[in-house]
């Protein structure tokens, strides 16, 4: 299964090689050209000779993770987070480090050695380390180097009633949406950008948008769902099972009104459930794209995910499939009616 395979690959920001190779392999036969740009974005084109507006679809390949920043004399690794991770979720999780996938466990001082005050507070990042089973520093240095990146070691798969769990759903689910859409063909020039380093500041999208300079871009994301207790309705950003989330605003962009209206219209016409992303927090690649060159209209479609930026998050496969359907309906609407903006 595509989504499971994508989630089990590791691609902490700046080391997206495994996901890039996987996607390149799957799409090469389906597009005119596929290239990797200087920052590592994987860019594919369909219908470059077509008339009509130039459309760019993006999803980021990278995921949040950890970086090895030190090795102590006992062979334990000091770590920093790469991208936004709640430090409280780290303790006792399994990770794999670097391209050789060296296994490790995140450890901390055992509870019987902790003072009373320490027990009452979550363990902070400086007190956490990764244990790779090395007997000392020299032993650890044979397996890992400072600067290596560590990803969570988690099996992905379906469970419950059409639910799916795995790490890095943000944004492998976006990559999976694009890999579904790439099977189709539309009558305008269509650029697919699988981007790098979103989690550390929308970096891949910034340069991809500058290079492609499309007339409109649509970004596909895994976004946080807030439908768990004790969040009240107005505090829930999105809800699982209620359809793809259409963004109207986040920290990085205010989405063009006509673009929102077109997405709503095609969803209603095709009877596809949708919800608005009812939060303005967080940033997306749409913000970076929107600010590129002389300005590029951009929108965001997201699949709601619970427990995002943690070792394991959950989405609804119905939401995933409806996101593909809504994206397809939107792209077809461009064929018939042109750009919304």
């Amino acid at each position: 299964m595509l989504l499971r395979e994508l989630c089990e690959l590791n691609a902490v920001s700046s080391r997206e090689d495994a996901v890039r190779a996987y996607i390149r392999n799957r799409i090469t036969e389906k597009v005119e050209t596929v290239t990797t740009d200087k920052l590592g974005n994987l860019l594919a084109v369909q219908g470059s000779g077509n008339t009509g507006p130039k459309i760019m679809l993006t999803a980021h390949m990278d995921e949040v993770g950890l970086m090895v920043v030190g090795i102590d004399n006992s062979g334990l690794l000091k770590i920093k987070t790469v991208g936004g991770i709640d430090e409280r979720v780290l303790l006792s999780k399994r990770v794999v480090i670097g391209p050789n996938r060296i296994p490790g466990v995140i450890g901390a001082k055992p509870i019987h050695l902790q003072e009373k005050e320490e027990r009452e507070k979550p363990v902070k990042l400086p007190s956490l380390f990764v244990d790779i089973g090395a007997k000392d520093k020299a032993d650890a240095e044979k397996e890992v180097s400072i600067g290596d990146l560590a990803a969570f070691d988690v099996k992905a798969g379906g469970f419950g009633d059409r639910m799916f769990k795995g790490k890095a759903l943000d944004d492998r689910v976006g990559c999976a949406v694009l890999l579904n859409l790439i099977e189709n063909h539309y009558d305008f020039p269509l650029y697919y950008a699988f981007t790098v380093q979103e989690e550390v500041g929308l970096r891949g999208a910034t340069v991809a948008a500058f290079g492609i300079n499309p007339d409109l871009a649509l970004v596909f994301e895994g976004t946080s769902a807030g439908d768990v207790p004790p969040a009240k309705k107005h505090q829930q950003s999105t809800r699982l099972g209620k359809g793809p989330a259409i963004s109207f605003m986040d920290r990085s962009i205010i989405v063009n009104q006509a673009l929102i209206e077109r997405l709503v219209k095609v969803a209603n016409e095709a009877n596809i459930p949708f919800q608005f992303r009812q939060s303005t927090a967080g940033g997306t690649e749409a913000g970076a794209i929107n600010q590129s060159q002389t300005g590029i209209p951009a929108g965001v479609l997201s699949v709601p995910c619970r427990y995002i930026h943690s070792p394991v998050s959950i989405l609804s496969l119905d939401d995933f499939e409806n996101t593909i359907k809504l994206a397809d309906a939107f792209l077809k609407s461009i064929e018939r009616r042109g750009l919304p903006v």
């Binding site: 107005h234 109207f248 009104q257 608005f276 009812q278 303005t280 060159q293 300005g295």
Partner: protein
């Protein structure tokens, strides 16, 4: 001028939804420029030819607002801020939506008023059910403060002086300039309040030789105010620094020299917070010397922003002086 300011501030124009103000300004200036453009993000650019040096003037059309994030089962609206909004300034105020609907802010019961957050506030549009509210307002709609323009004589008060007063200055300068010595790109920008976004993309397109933003600045002349040198009524403020820019010395000298030779009252401004469109313009491409002519304004980002018409007049004269000075920086 009062009439123009009154009309400009009456329009609701939150960041990202500047259609109404753009249409108004377009109508106001169409006979005073050689070319009128609208770019992809919605910036309105009025071009008037006069020389080789390209000057971009930027005044932002948008104002801070409240975006609706949820409508509850009783028809109350929840919202998030668009631009810098303090929760303590909202309770009891009114808002207006672009379709003309008016609402008032209410708050949940809070034990400690210091702990009031936007999350605990809501907007009441007088709807008695969710259905009624949804028939009038949609999630994603953006409201702005609803407060009338008030004429206090030399001084005037309104919502959205930030930055309708900059727009008014630029409109008036465009009308008054008779002998431009540079190519003028008078830009009415979008989305300044959420991160100088319109200025960034418009400057990329224009590639100016000089950028000058027109915006409000805070004053230090009220009781127990933060210590700031700028005072209401003491002239146009030539910005030296804020968080987005250190004014290029060439630009600061040019503005100061022009103010002196034309006997325009001016003051220097050092703002320890905030930023303006000039911040985005000066980092465009390989860099653009840029500065700001500020209009001193009390109670910025409140529904009652106050400016002094003498400062406004000084700013207009200084802008016209720049337009009519052969600069030769191209």
């Amino acid at each position: 001028m009062k009439k123009l300011i009154s009309k400009l501030t009456a329009i609701s124009s939150p960041s990202g939804r500047e259609e109404q103000i753009r249409a108004f300004i377009k109508e106001e200036i169409k006979n005073y420029c050689d070319e009128l453009r609208e770019d992809k993000l919605g910036n309105l650019i009025a071009i008037k030819h006069g020389g080789n040096t390209k000057i971009q003037f930027a005044a932002h059309m948008d104002e801070i607002g409240m975006i609706i994030t949820d409508i509850d089962e009783n028809g109350f609206l929840r919202f998030s801020n668009v631009g810098g909004i303090s929760p303590h300034r909202l309770y009891g105020q009114r808002v207006r939506f672009q379709n003309g609907m008016v609402g008032v802010f209410g708050a949940e019961k809070v034990e400690d008023i210091k702990k009031l957050t936007l999350n605990k506030l809501y907007i009441d549009i007088g709807a008695s059910s969710e259905e009624e509210a949804r028939s009038k307002i949609s999630v994603g709609d953006i409201a702005t403060f609803h407060h009338e323009f008030t004429d206090l004589g030399e001084r005037v008060v309104a919502k959205s002086m930030d930055d309708r007063i900059g727009c008014a200055v630029l409109i008036e300068a465009l009308k008054r300039v008779t002998n431009p010595q540079n190519d003028l790109y008078c830009t009415f920008t979008v989305q300044e309040e959420v991160g100088l976004r319109g200025a960034r993309t418009s400057a990329f397109g224009i590639e100016p030789d000089l950028g000058i933003a027109l915006d409000v600045t805070a004053t230090g002349d009220t009781p127990e105010a933060e210590r700031l040198a700028v005072k209401l009524g003491k002239g146009a403020a030539i910005k030296v620094k804020d968080l987005s820019i250190i004014t290029h010395s060439k630009v600061k000298d040019l503005l100061t020299e022009l103010a002196k030779t034309n006997s325009i009252p001016y003051q220097f401004e050092v703002l320890p917070f905030g930023g303006t469109d000039a911040g985005a313009i000066h980092l465009t491409k390989a860099g653009v010397p840029a500065g700001v002519i500020s209009i001193p304004c009390r109670y910025v980002h409140s529904p009652s922003e106050m400016v002094d018409l003498n400062d406004v007049e000084a700013a207009v004269r200084l802008v016209v002086a720049v337009m009519e000075k052969k600069i030769g920086w191209s």
